[in-house]
């Protein structure tokens, strides 16, 4: 049976969440923001998987089941995000979010 330190996984997913947060807050390109969201989302999915793997019983299995559902959600989110990218590109000629200010008062 494999033995692994849980502290490493917690550290990794927190660091990945921080990297994703940093990307969401600092990048201006819509595709880069999507990628940053994906990194943060992957940190969340990793959380479900390792807490599932370290806990026994049906609860652990639910962790993996939720991870499967979350991977589906993340793929859906990318598809919708790219549709927004295309619409933004058609409307503005750029995918820089700093120029998408139509809803500003």
């Amino acid at each position: 049976m494999t033995d692994l330190p849980i502290v490493g996984f917690v550290g990794l997913s927190t660091a990945l969440l921080a990297v994703g947060l940093f990307g969401i807050l600092t990048r201006r390109n819509f595709i880069l923001i999507l990628i940053a969201i994906e990194i943060a989302m992957n940190a969340t999915i990793l959380n479900f998987v390792y807490f599932g793997a370290f806990s026994g019983g049906a609860g652990g299995l639910s962790g993996q089941a939720i991870a499967v559902v979350l991977i589906g959600f993340a793929a859906t989110e990318v598809a919708v995000g790219l549709a927004i990218v295309l619409a933004l590109n058609r409307l503005k000629g750029t995918i820089n979010v700093a120029q998408a200010t139509d809803l500003k008062l």
Binding site: M1, T2, D3, L4, P5, I6, V7, G8, V10, G11, L12, T14, A15, L16, A18, V19, L21, F22, G23, L25, T26, R28, I31, L32, L34, I35, E38, I39, N42, L46, V49, A53, F54, G56, G60, L61, S62, Q64, A65, I66, A67, V68, V69, I71, G72, F73, A74, A75, T76, E77, V78, A79, V80, L82, A83, L86, A87, N89, L91, I95
Partner: protein
């Protein structure tokens, strides 16, 4: 230190480096390459956690579909595929947020038990029973949401909409 712990350490370092590199490189196509390596690395971590089904799903959905989808996104929105992004500085607020997150992470990690714990392997048959039995309604809901998302995406990108 066991071989599994060494493998996890190496995979964790690669995951962090590729995630940071993906957000910091100037060319968007290189970003996609880095994020592809990141997704493959995470699937290796899932295999290490004895979750082979999730590892394969990660390879298929993320490393395969999402990466290609993002590449298409770049392809159709730029005149030149290999064009550089303008450099953006790190503002004070994002930097402070990242620093606070990091401090909280270090504090939280210090509280956790430092010993290694056994990883429990689950039979994929049990996982599918859980997924389609107990969590069946949620899976159906996921299907509905995905269908709505596809319809919404088509509505967003359809011709003649201004």
């Amino acid at each position: 230190m066991s071989i599994e712990e060494l493998a996890f350490l190496a995979l964790a370092v690669v995951a962090l480096v590729t995630a940071v590199a993906a957000l910091l490189v100037r060319e968007l196509v290189h970003t996609i390459l880095w994020i592809g390596v990141f997704f493959v690395d995470l699937s290796a971590i899932y295999f290490l956690l004895e979750a082979p089904f999730l590892g394969v799903l990660q390879l298929g959905v993320y490393a395969g579909a999402v990466t290609v989808l993002l590449l298409f996104g770049i392809m159709v929105t730029r005149k030149r595929i290999f064009s550089r992004e303008a450099a953006t500085g790190i503002g004070a607020v994002p930097f402070a947020l990242a620093a606070v997150t990091f401090i909280f992470a270090v504090a939280a990690v210090g509280e956790l038990p430092q010993t290694s714990q056994p990883v429990r392997a689950y039979d994929p048959t049990l996982l599918s029973e859980n997924l389609f039995g107990t969590n069946g309604p949620w899976l159906l809901l996921l299907g509905l949401i995905m269908m709505a998302a596809v319809a919404g995406s088509i509505y967003l990108v359809r011709e003649g909409r201004e």
